[in-house]
């Protein structure tokens, strides 16, 4: 470990230079795919926000910031990341606590911390710091994890999950817990334990139901039977299905979506932008987008497979799988496969913190791949 700086200059390491540009780490496939997704997102968003240029400029600024964060994170060595993991996790946890105490209300929930110049959601950072913490915890330990270790891991992702659920932001809470859970499963959690925990999770549903707020329950009921409340929670699902379905194979054409432009569709620029895209660009447009997402996830899994130690392997795998979960949860909710949980479509929905944390996650992937070296075992 201590000789790592020397090793970089020896033969095999030099071969990796192809992934570097004058010493700067950047993963070309990731950069190209994210640019493609964001570009497509911009096009759809422009239509969804009613061709408002000021909103587009704000989104462009967020994109620039996100890319900057990506570039910076990619330069951090995985070893440094690993050493920082527990600290990042603790700081995020404290920030979450602060949100509980004096966060800013927005849309009926207390999610934001106001930092004067901008507001951000610590719960978004948790989506990265939880897999980091899990990977850090398992790094030195022999795998698969023992039962006792699994209990500690459960604590690591259930405590922030609980805090976020209280905000209340059930969607993000579930995603944060999923990010931790997927990382643990990748670490080789025995199938028997997965089954046991699965049963536990299922039996927790009634308890969860008990603690849910009225609007959250309404959403679940509306998902199971949208027609039961067509004026309230079921409205979104009905309208987004009409938007998607009426788009057909080729779509109504860019800027021509009637569902979106006549304001039938709620949350057009954020949670339901997938429906706007489906209406205007049709099934073909959605397939292109899904294809790009799969490319990105595939690249992440490839990086995980190539990674050389437990920490980077688990982290890369966990982040990639979580990214797919975001995509699936949003798309699934918009087309009525899943209940409405208020999760944005990654890299496409308007919104700052989400895009920045996603790109930071990809920065970590790039860093892992760009800094790997052939170990002499």
């Amino acid at each position: 470990m201590s000789t790592s700086s020397l090793e970089l200059d020896v033969g095999p390491a030099a071969a990796l230079r192809s992934l570097r540009f004058r010493g700067i780490v950047m993963d070309v496939p990731i950069v190209l795919t994210t640019f493609a997704i964001c570009g497509l997102g911009f096009v759809v968003l422009y239509s969804a926000v009613g061709e408002s240029s000021s909103l587009m400029i704000r989104q462009a600024i967020r994109f620039a910031v996100a890319m900057l964060v990506f570039g910076l994170v990619a330069q951090v060595s995985p070893r440094t990341l690993r050493m920082w993991s527990p600290w990042i996790f603790c700081v995020t946890l404290v920030l979450l606590g602060l949100v509980m105490v004096n966060g800013v209300m927005g849309g009926g929930a207390q999610r934001w911390l106001d930092l004067g110049i901008f507001r951000f959601q610590p719960s978004e950072i948790m989506k990265i710091s939880v897999p980091m913490m899990v990977a850090w915890f398992l790094h030195e330990r022999p795998l698969p994890p023992t039962f006792g270790q699994v209990l500690v891991l459960l604590l690591i992702f259930c405590v922030p999950g609980f805090l976020i659920a209280r905000q209340p932001d059930l969607g993000t809470a579930l995603l944060v817990m999923a990010s931790g859970g997927l990382t643990v499963i990748l670490a080789g959690l025995s199938l028997r334990l997965i089954a046991i925990l699965g049963v536990f999770a299922l039996s927790a549903i009634p308890i969860l139901w008990h603690y849910m707020l009225d609007y959250q329950r309404a959403r679940v009921v509306a998902f199971l039977n949208p027609e039961s409340d067509p004026l309230g929670a079921g409205y979104n699902i009905i309208q987004s299905k009409i938007a998607l379905g009426s788009g057909g194979l080729f779509g109504k054409g860019w800027l021509n979506g009637t569902q979106a432009h006549l304001e039938f569709l709620p949350e057009r620029s954020t949670d339901f932008i997938f429906a706007v895209m489906g209406e205007e660009l049709g099934l073909l447009g959605l397939l292109v987008l899904l294809g790009l997402y799969l490319l990105l996830v595939g690249r992440g899994l490839y990086i995980a497979a190539q990674a050389q130690d437990t920490f980077t392997r688990l982290l890369a795998g966990g982040l990639s799988l979580t990214f797919f979960v975001y995509v699936f949860v949003n798309a699934g909710m918009v087309c009525g496969l899943l209940p409405i949980v208020g999760v944005p479509l990654p890299l496409v929905s308007a919104g700052g913190t989400s895009m920045v944390t996603l790109m930071a996650g990809f920065g970590i992937l790039a860093a892992i791949h760009g800094n790997r070296r052939l170990l002499v075992s």
């Binding site: 030195e140 022999p142 795998l143 080789g188 938007a243 006549l262 039938f264 995980a304 699936f328």
Partner: protein
Amino acid sequence: MNAAVPLKDHWKEQKLFLSRLIAAGVIILTLTGVLIWRLFQLQVVEYQVFSELSQGNRLRIEPLPPTRGLIFDRNGTVLAENRPAWELIITPEQITNLEDSLRSLEGLGLVDPAEHESLFESIRSYRGFERVKLVNLTETQAARFAVRRHHFPGVDIQEGLIRYYPFGELTGHAIGYLASISPAELQRINRGDYAATSLIGKSGIERSYEDTLHGSVGYRQQVVNAQGRVLLDPAMPASVAPISESSQGSLETRWPVPGDNIVLGLDIRLQTAAHEALEGQRGAAVAIEPATGDVLALVSTPAFDPNRFAVGLSRAEFQMLNSDPDEPLFHRALAGHYPPGSTIKPFLGLAALHSDVLEPERRAMCYGHFVLPGNSHRYRDWKPQGHGLMDLHESIVQSCDVYFYQLAVSLGIDYMGPFLREFGFGARTGIDISGENTGLVPSREWKRSQFSRREDQVWFPGETVITGIGQGFTLVTPLQLAHATATMAAAGQRLQPRLVIATENSTTGEVVESAPAMLDVLGDIDPLHWERIGEAMIGVTEGLQGTSRIAMRGAPYTVAGKTGTAQVFSIGQDEEYDAEEIDERLRDHALFIAYAPAEDPTIAVAVVVENGGGGSAGAAPVARKILDAYLVGEMDVDE
């Protein structure tokens, strides 16, 4: 995996990881397949259905309003009902220029121009297809609009129900009123529930029992064209419908469920008697049934007419109500803070008996003033020449201040405070409508925390002295006073005051009565002590020197009462109080508490008349009218 040798087997771990990664990849592809299959279903297989729904024809969901529950008094008299009325309705998505439409409606005299901005904002906060109620119209206004209807696409009149309170301002404070949902309330409620109704309970019963009264919204699915004309409706016969569509069968209707009816403990006869007795004055009266805690009358004057809110109060009208110096919107019975004055004496007398600090028969001389040892300040009696020899009974009957100054000093603030709190003073009674104030029972800790200057934080002996006659810091609400009097009447049994005694399912007619809520029973006080105080309070209304003997003269039942006169304005040491000279607003508050029949009390009342002068002349006659209405029944609703 041996615990003793925690070595990492890198080769095995990597193999395990890779197998998991491959499994994950398979799952990802499967899930993506499911997603694509679903999208294919929606966008290709069912394309035709959704396309029709979205393009030429749109599915509109017409919300159907539930009927709000009725409110009855204890004898079944209707206090709140629903009456037919005309409503002006606007559908934002069908309006090309909202600004112009509003201006033309204002030109017709249907909409108040002063409301322009707020209406504009409120309409924009609704979804395009939602039908927004603008205002209620009178018959003539509705007729004026009907002939010009074709000029206003997207604007319509419909028959709706409007809340009506037959007793108007008599029940304004107790029952409350309905008004438009505010933006803050819009955040709190489930918007779907209010899709067909635009009003929500703002105060009193209408607010506290909003969920019970409101009912659940129904809906009817309709197919409309781009102009909003109904093309298909489940109520339409197939031969009449302009289009016949494959989805005709799927159009459904769910009827609204009316809200539950509510039965109050109020007796409108008492309510009327109390209101009329207080008419033209600022004051409050509360009557409670001691055995149940049922509030028989809850009056605060001046009051407001809740019917004006239901029709839609203009901004100017609301301003006028709000800035009226007599504060008609202020619920004095629940939120008014008043010094209890001498009405506190029976309670402190009981405290003195219970704590054994005095022998009730022992007489003390009243010279008309009281002096603390080592202090020159004279605490004066209301009777300058003094009452002469006084025992506990006579000091309550004649309301001797000097006797109670001494009594307070003997008890000390640390005993009086907790004892008064046991009667419910200094805390909300927990009545089932909001807007209650806590009142105040002072203590050393309270004073320490309340004042910033060190020298003010000390509890002074003089403050104990005046607490004895209900002056100083002590504050009570009329409701607390009535509650405490009811507790006195029931010899220590405390029942939580309540307005609602039952709810009735308006569909099935099933009545659910709610049980009275018993609060902490007062600590074991000797029954003889209750009796002694009760006798003294009877003396107040019947004794030769009783302070309310005139107001209660000739009552065919026995009344136990106590007068009170609370100073608003403090008079200097040597000045004389002259009611004529000082401003009406600085005159004393008049108070009176009573329960009757004294042998077996069925009603307890408290009356406060702001700046009403002395309790015997200002408040006792009001209480007499309430008691007569209940016990003699000479008042009639129809009168």
